[in-house]
């Protein structure tokens, strides 16, 4: 007798009565003994009967006209030239808008990089900081060295700073005898030094300026002006000068020889071998 799986595959042909006679008898014999397959055959027969008699749904009367009109619009649109179709299409408008935006962004980026902004400088200002970092040689007297006031080339919106170190003495090569250095031009140093710190010596200052005799009443008084640092400056033969205390050192103001003469009341005390400003 046929198994249920084989009968299940032959149900449709059995219901449609298209099976060969011998095969049909085998299926019938199986159905008599199998209620499950029998129920399956009844369901298939009922479905076939109902579906074949169901008929076809009737389409609405205006459906064909609606479809034709939509199709004709599509055909008319397709018959237009490509440039006419493209001009009105949303895709074309979107592509053009994106190209315009991209070009604008690129142009703004280029202008910003090149600095073509009207309020920006065309050339980056340069700041030249000149510093003299030369320390006094052995020939010079012991002094307290303070850095010179930097001279700025430009001060406008510095975007780039270049520091040029002028007057930096390169390290001397290892030689037996150091090369002689020309003496630096003399440089007047204006400073106030407490008279008590200055010892009188028989040697006079090599300048035209001479220390005035302090009043007796001020012999033990400290003469200094705010902002002026009384420093202990070597007189180079003028005599021994005691080192001032750190608290007495306020400020040192450096002047060039070509600078105007010090005002009255200021005392030029000594000369130092400062290299001139350049």
């Amino acid at each position: 007798m046929l198994p249920c799986e084989d009968v299940r595959q032959l149900v449709e042909e059995y219901v449609a009565e298209t099976l060969p006679a011998a095969r049909r008898q085998e299926v019938s014999r199986h159905l008599r003994a199998c209620p499950g397959c029998q129920r399956m055959v009844e369901e298939a027969r009922l479905a076939r009967m109902v579906l074949h008699g169901a008929g076809q749904p009737k389409a609405p009367p205006g459906l064909a006209q609606v479809i034709k009109q939509a199709g004709l619009r599509r055909l008319r649109y397709r018959s237009r030239p490509l440039h006419e179709r493209a001009l009105g299409s949303p895709a074309f408008v979107a592509v053009c808008a994106s190209l315009v935006c991209g070009a604008a962004i690129c142009l703004l980026s280029i202008l910003r990089v090149s600095g073509a902004h009207p309020t920006w400088e065309t050339e980056l200002p340069r700041i030249t900081v000149v510093e003299q970092l030369e320390f006094p040689t052995r020939d010079t007297h012991r002094i307290l060295f303070l850095p010179a006031r930097p001279r700025l080339a430009t001060l406008r919106r510095p975007l780039k700073v270049s520091v040029e170190l002028a007057g930096v003495v390169p390290p001397r090569p290892a030689t037996a005898e150091p090369a002689p250095r020309p003496p630096a031009p003399a440089r007047l140093v204006r400073a106030h030094v407490a008279p008590s710190l200055v010892a009188r010596t028989p040697r006079t200052l090599p300048t035209a300026h001479a220390l005035p005799e302090p009043p007796l009443g001020l012999a033990h008084q400290r003469i200094s002006t705010p902002g002026i640092v009384p420093v202990s400056i070597s007189t180079g033969g003028l005599g021994q000068v005691n080192q001032p205390a750190p608290e007495e050192i306020e400020k040192l103001e450096l002047l060039d020889l070509a600078a105007p003469q010090p005002a009255a009341g200021d005392v030029a005390t000594s000369l130092t071998n400062y290299p001139a400003h350049r």
Binding site: M49, L51, G55, K58, P60, A64
Partner: protein, 218 residues
Amino acid sequence: MVPTAFAKTEPPVPRAAALAATTDDMYLVRAAQAGNAEAFSALVDKYHTKVFGIVYRMCGPMEAEDLTQEIFLRALTALRKFQFQGESSYRTWLYRISVNACINELRRRKRRYQIEGPSLDELVETNGGLMERAVPDFSRMPHELAERRELQELVQAIIQTLSPHHRAVIALIDLEGVEYEEAARIIGCPLGTLKSRLARARQAFGRRLKRTMERNGM
């Protein structure tokens, strides 16, 4: 719009008539490919009822008209790439577009909500508005009951509970009268697969129909 009446199925088309139809389709399709609007209108008049029937059976009355229009526009767009490859080629191609569009529509609906189909206890949309599903008089023979409007609506409701592939085979073979070989080309599966799928679809349909009849007291 809900169809008011169901016409009887047309008898199967003889082979000579099928060849004549194919020849007519060939001229119409080539004219439509060239942009002839009248050829396209003739094709619409010839197939819009059958396409609507497939859509109605597979997707139900809701949005059946819109989907039918969309199918014909898709066919018009893809018509340039269409090439004749034997008899009943254009009809096969058009039915394939219809079945695929219906399956995609069912999947899209399923993504929104679970497709269970209309419950047998739900109200039925008719031309007179929503009505309760009348209990069919099963005292008569089933083939006579098939002519009753209430049973037609019940058939549609049961079909909506089947899977999309089962709906496709039932709509093509049992309702549209398409032959097995052509249906296999439309669905894109071997003939044996089609027959087994049809058998399972009919069994599922019959099982649910019988269960409904027993519940209603037959």
